[in-house]
Subunit: 216 residues, 2 copies
């Protein structure tokens, strides 16, 4: 197999590399990802390549029908809307709960600090800290299952971002201002208002991204 540390096993290493290639945009959504290609590309046996592909299919990164090659999944406008609406449902619930206890998640504030260092820069650079901000809010609940559900959504967002190559993003200033407003309202215990700001925040991103994915 390809060099590198083996923390878990060959299959997981290949799956990780494949996922990185998929969301990094190195694998076009049209190209077929055959088991044989993966096996030779990473110098592993075909069963291992098969297992890695199936893992990514289960995650939703790849899609496949029986006896057909797998492909990188292409997200359309409907998928983007579904992702963002599901995000909003989970995250509003999290915000309401945190506000009820006036519990401001520190990790979210730290993510905001990193966003602030990119003020005036490109919006592409803040995709990562932005997702960290939102994940921090959900993770603050300490709920394994809620966090897992939300994580799969952020993975899809990341993949979507790679697909649109930075088109349709919101300005850094606006994002940061709304984030800070949300944290303030949580600290004030006004969950309803915080949820409203979040809904608008995600709603705008949803519209921009949905438009971006449908105009290639």
């Amino acid at each position: 197999m390809v060099e590198g540390i083996r923390v878990t096993g060959v299959v997981d290493a290949v799956a990780e590399a494949l996922r990185a290639a998929a969301i990094g945009g190195e694998l076009e959504p049209e190209r077929a990802v055959t088991e044989a290609w993966v096996a030779s590309r990473f110098a592993v046996a075909r069963p291992s390549a098969k297992a890695a592909i199936e893992k990514l299919v289960a995650e939703g990164v790849l899609e496949r029908t029986a006896h057909r090659s797998a492909r990188v999944r292409r997200l359309d406008a409907d998928a983007v809307r579904d992702v963002y609406r599901t995000r909003r449902r989970i995250e509003s619930a999290a915000i309401r709960e945190l506000a009820a206890e006036r519990r401001r998640p520190d990790a979210a504030a730290e993510a905001d600090a990193e966003i602030a260092t990119h003020l005036g820069g490109s919006s592409v650079d803040i995709v990562d800290p932005d997702l960290r901000f939102h994940s921090a809010i959900v993770d603050a609940l300490g709920s394994e299952r809620t966090s897992r559900a939300y994580r799969s959504l952020t993975e899809e967002v990341r993949q979507c971002m790679a697909q649109v190559q930075g088109r349709g993003l919101i300005s850094v200033d606006t994002i940061l201002a709304e984030h800070e407003r949300i944290l303030e309202l949580i600290a004030d215990g006004d969950g309803e208002a915080a949820a409203a700001v979040l809904a608008e925040h995600l709603g705008r991103a949803e519209e921009r991204l949905a438009a971006a994915v449908s105009t290639p």
Copy 2:
């Protein structure tokens, strides 16, 4: 392999049979589920058994650490609380959205009709229609991702019910009354009140189940 229609393939068939055995209680949580055992039990090759096991591990039905046999996962009180709190987050959001449009889900009312036929009977018989009621509310959103997240939770509830063998259930009358009240409030457009009834409804079930799983 064992007889039966092969709609998808050997691996899926074995995974389905294994899942049924796990949530049906035929596999005690203590017993080790080895690849060799699964392979001989269903007359398939070991790689196929391995794939089926890994699928169930990904679903959360089984658990496994590296180089150790898989086991049916035992849900403790913390797990039950996590499941129910996550359910509440998703379902409250769904109820609020439906109430905002005064959209009463027909499928939920139908599930209630079936529950009504068991009035005075055992609570075990209504586990299925009860979960159908709650799933119908979420599915009414028409969101693939939200429904998928919720489905994995109901599967865990089902597994939990098999584990406690009917102990710690709520009376059929109470469940039915609260269901109808929720549907009424949705039709009235009072999402806040409907969500409050739901929170109490799930909260009580959470406490009962959490107590039941910790007293074997």
